[in-house]
Subunit: 353 residues, 2 copies
């Protein structure tokens, strides 16, 4: 068991620190402190508010120095600045952590292990640096073959209307619910937070573009050999103005049998691109089925709505309306459980190409 301190300086909150919240909610290891000077003195559950009992009593502190008094052995870089670079302001804290022998886990595009100053600090104290966004050597330059998945396995891709709508969370909830029902189910992480939490997977957005589909295929074939149900975390969106390439490489690479469509209720434009409107969900569904079908057909069989922050009656209303408009089982798996999603998958488990 690790004892984790999470660095989330300047951005710890229910919507602004995806990695931090993911590790708190789904990670197996205890979090002993979160570092964010803006919320120092509060507790994690107080900052996260409505998210439930996550992080009850865990202190938010102002600095790495303060976090050390809670005896962590691991520092997780818990936020992902756009572009993935290491902000200068974080460097002293990371150096302090390494000097105190904390192992550092980072999902930044900027590899901390390749940074001479940080690498030297790790070496000096004996601490390790795990850059989860570094593609594993055996998959980093793999060309996709179009190989069939193990017969009897089912691959499900969690596609989204946008970044940050909850695709990873839905995939975790579905994996847990499937396992609870006794199914052989594996979560195939494709982003840094999922990898940190599950301990395996590949950082798709960091792959060289030529090898995205090949790397994803390699991972999926491996999961399909180990599990009957492979739940592939989605990334980005096919309609995202910056990241659609990552999404298509992932969709074609994992060659899913079934899709679950994830959306945040009420979101009308792509996050941080206010001029890029999200079309009606019926159209988003069509886009994913179209693009999957260029190589292998895969239907959307259910919708997962993120209703975070909505009153319960509003959440129920938007779920009912979506269910009607889409003609598909719809729920918010965090609020109401992933049962309907798992049942929708089982109902179509005849589909395996």
């Amino acid at each position: 068991m690790r004892r984790i301190a999470i660095l989330a300086e300047g951005s710890f909150g229910p919507l602004s620190a995806k990695t931090a919240v993911g590790v708190l909610r789904y990670g197996a290891d205890p979090v002993v402190a979160v570092i964010d000077s803006a919320s120092a003195g509060k507790t994690v559950d107080a900052v996260l508010g409505g998210s439930g009992a996550v992080g009850a009593g865990v202190p938010v502190v102002a600095s790495v120095e303060e976090a050390l008094s809670y005896d962590p052995d691991t520092l997780v870089i818990g936020i992902a600045p756009i572009g993935g670079r290491l902000p200068d302001a974080w460097r002293p804290g990371i150096l302090r952590a390494l000097a105190a022998k904390l192992n550092v886990i980072s999902g930044l595009h900027h590899f901390l292990g390749d940074d001479p100053e940080l690498a030297a600090a790790a070496k000096a104290s004996g601490a390790t640096i795990w850059d989860v966004r570094r593609p594993p050597a055996e998959l980093a330059q793999r060309i996709r073959e179009g190989a069939p998945h193990r017969a009897g396995s089912h691959t499900v891709y969690f596609c989204g209307s946008d970044c940050d709508v909850g695709k990873m969370t839905v995939a975790f909830e579905v994996t847990r619910e499937a396992q609870r029902r006794g199914l052989s189910a594996g979560f195939a992480a494709t982003g840094q937070t999922g990898i940190m939490i599950s301990g395996e997977g590949i950082p798709v957005d960091r792959f060289i573009s030529d090898f995205v589909s090949g790397g994803v295929e390699g991972m999926t074939l491996d999961f399909a050999n180990r599990y009957d149900w492979v739940f592939v975390e989605g990334q980005g969106s096919l309609i995202h103005p910056a990241y659609s390439a990552v999404t298509l490489g992932l969709l074609h690479g994992c060659a899913p049998d079934l899709l679950i469509l994830c959306h945040q209720a009420g979101r009308e434009a792509i996050y941080s691109y206010p001029d890029v409107r999200i079309p009606p969900l019926t159209r988003v569904r069509q886009i994913y089925e179209e693009a999957a079908g260029w190589l292998k057909p895969a239907p959307v069989v259910a919708v997962a709505l993120n209703t975070y922050g909505m009153p319960d009656e509003d959440a129920r209303a938007v779920i009912a309306r979506t269910e009607r408009e889409m003609g598909l089982p719809t729920t918010d798996p965090v609020r109401y459980g992933a049962g309907p999603l798992v049942e929708a998958l089982l109902a179509r488990s005849d589909l395996h190409a």
Copy 2:
């Protein structure tokens, strides 16, 4: 003006050395020798046979040493071995070239400038090494913004049914024809051969997937500021089982106003994926227009058919049939000139979003 020697050891021929033939056909600088011991003693035009007057009288020689007697100042690595690594057999020749102060231009995945022995040899003689497949620093980690192109500029993307159908060649032919007609036109290279020939552009397939669209946008904005017509070389295909991510990133990144669809007449399956059939060209057109339209509509306005190796009457017949089926101007620009393609673009030059 450079004086170029092309290293194509073991593979110089009309179909087997895309980079060498591209530099010979479209490069601005003279090629003084081609190195391939298998064809030594012949001339380039004799080896390339039916390809026209390319390389008339240029000697094919057996070694870098021999090539030096033709006084080159640049060595271009003109073939791409599988995996992109430097074959051991080429190392002595490259070292000899660097010792003779030849600048070396390479499109290998293996960066010659990062090779300690080669880098030291370059430093010792003052020669330079240009790895064209290294993403330029200012674009390598750029996030796409969705910025508008300069008003009055037109961006054209050359989309393909597959790899290696002639997208780069068509883009070069269209650029030349547009320039011949007095238009302000620039060729935006996206692969190593195009970069070597034009001296600029970006190696899209080598970009980190998160930054493909952003890097392409950065390049396109720059071209659109300098030219009225920006001709963006296509890569791969949206229906390619391994490379579709590269293609979508490029398509969305350059945000074209107009598309030209490139296909090799008679090709029925994706190259080296015999089980992946290419759908009818009407469907390929629909797929590109669909995918472009997720962000910004762009119609296919003409078809470029590669009829290499076909008798003239067959070439004319397939062009006429395609023109009828697609309802679009169609030609083989290498055989019959790019006039109809340029005219199709001019007819739709009102389109600029």
